[in-house]
């Protein structure tokens, strides 16, 4: 079955204020931003007779702004625009890399960061990166504004902590300490367009004497939501990256994820390849950074 255009009750506010009002009055609406996920469901005939709130015309929440303490990415900023932004390229290269492997160019030109986050797929390619940069999701509704730590935003597969009639306004990415070794690695069946089997991001600060000051490591497609490797991060802190310590960190990886067997991969493969990525990141510098 196909989508029947006449069956849609369509709202298209021109400003953020009007959008919040329209959403407040119609909290049962589906929010449309870039449409790269919503329109797929539409094409499958799953959204007939629904209300759609198209927020794509709202200019206030599009674009990247430099702040004193980081950058602020408006929810409606497309993945292509994020990649092109000078501040992002300079301070948050992992975000640029992650945005460049989301779908193909057609998807990157249309799909928005806020839409991707609100969609809450376990496989979101930018999510591990936002997790290690410790991003903050800023939310807005008629009742006011609030903010959630990126890791607190997700509740489960396709489930978020957005309240009724609440929108993502922007994503704040705070600067992190300089000198981090960094990694982004997506494993899929092809370089582009593939949904990840596993997707990893890491930041590692090592002191002059070779002890780990801090590790941040996150994995996507490895649980119902993106996961930080809390146990491995805690274990490796203050240790030198000797073989035994690296192996123990890789063993601990399993405690913070719970991958499944599905059409794209198996639990076993996902665990093995994720451990391999962590192992090479900890032992070999950033050879595995994507281009």
């Amino acid at each position: 079955m196909r989508g029947a255009p006449d069956s849609i009750y369509f709202l298209q506010p021109s400003s953020l204020e009007k959008a919040l009002q329209a959403y407040g009055e119609n909290p049962d609406s589906l929010v449309l931003a870039g449409g790269t996920d919503l329109m797929v469901a539409w094409n499958a005939g799953l959204l007939n007779n629904k209300k759609v709130l198209d927020i794509s015309l709202i200019r206030e929440i599009r674009g990247v702004r430099a702040l004193k303490k980081g950058v602020l990415i408006g929810a409606l900023t497309a993945h292509a625009d994020i990649q092109r932004n000078a501040a992002v390229r300079r301070h948050f290269p992992l975000i640029q890399t992650a945005c460049s492997v989301v779908g193909g160019l057609q998807i990157q030109n249309k799909g928005t960061l806020g839409g991707n986050i609100a969609n809450a797929s376990p496989a979101g390619d930018t999510f591990p990166v936002l997790a290690v940069y410790e991003a903050i999701v800023r939310l807005i509704s008629r009742q006011g504004r609030r903010a959630l730590a990126f890791m607190d935003f997700f509740e489960g597969v396709k489930k978020t902590r957005l309240l009724p009639a609440e929108l993502i306004e922007s994503v704040e990415i705070p600067y992190s300490r300089k000198g981090a070794r960094r990694l982004f690695r997506k494993v899929g069946t092809r370089a582009a367009q593939a949904i990840s089997k596993t997707v990893a991001a890491g930041l590692l600060w090592v002191g002059q004497d070779g002890t780990v000051e801090e590790l941040r490591f996150a994995l996507g497609s490895m649980a119902s939501t993106v996961r930080r490797l809390v146990k491995a991060e805690k274990f490796i802190k203050g240790k030198k990256l000797h073989r035994d310590a690296v192996e123990e960190a890789c063993r601990l990886l399993k405690d913070d994820v719970d991958p499944i067997d599905d059409v794209r991969s198996t639990r076993e493969y996902r665990l093995q390849i994720s451990q391999n990525i962590l192992r090479s990141f900890l032992s070999e510098a950033n050879y595995y950074e994507n281009p």
Partner: protein, 159 residues
């Protein structure tokens, strides 16, 4: 809903359901049937058109989002009697086989070429990564694009 848009340099005023997809508006309202629908999921890129110069999947866009935008379809390139040189290059190099991916391939390639994209195969492959060819004729497609970029460079040097 009334939507003003420019399609292949012609100003158009669409009146109808806001949630009609761009691909259906192009094919049904304006008889521009060059744009093909493949998967309907944003995976194959057969429906690729350019919006303000950027390649996008026309099967994933409700026409209501196109007010004031500039759209280019494969019909903007050439006609059967007078092919665009990119189309000629596809013919010469064997870049078109069954043909279903070709309109989308051409538009993604044209977006790359017209913005001064390089002739490096790895970069061309990235630019075309959102377009699938199930005849798997990728090498010939990439060659078709390389040839025309090199031709254009030679010409701009001799000018």
């Amino acid at each position: 809903m009334r939507i003003k848009l420019t399609i292949n340099k012609k100003k158009r005023v669409y009146e109808g359901a806001p949630f009609k997809r761009l691909i259906d508006v192009l094919r049904e309202n304006y008889e521009l049937t060059g744009t093909k629908e493949g998967c309907g999921e944003g995976e194959c890129g057969a429906c690729t058109v350019l919006v303000d110069g950027d390649p996008v999947n026309s099967c994933l866009i409700p026409v209501a989002q196109m007010n004031g935008r500039r759209i280019e379809t494969v019909e903007s390139l050439g006609t059967p009697k007078s092919l665009h040189r990119l189309q000629e290059s596809f013919l010469r190099e064997g870049g078109a086989q069954c043909g279903i991916c070709t309109p989308g391939m051409l538009m993604s390639a044209w977006a790359w070429i017209s913005r001064g994209g390089s002739a490096r195969p790895s970069e061309i492959r990235r630019a075309l990564a959102g377009n699938l060819c199930r005849c798997t004729g990728y090498q010939h497609i990439v060659n078709s694009v390389i040839k025309i970029i090199k031709e254009r460079k030679r010409e701009s040097r001799t000018k």
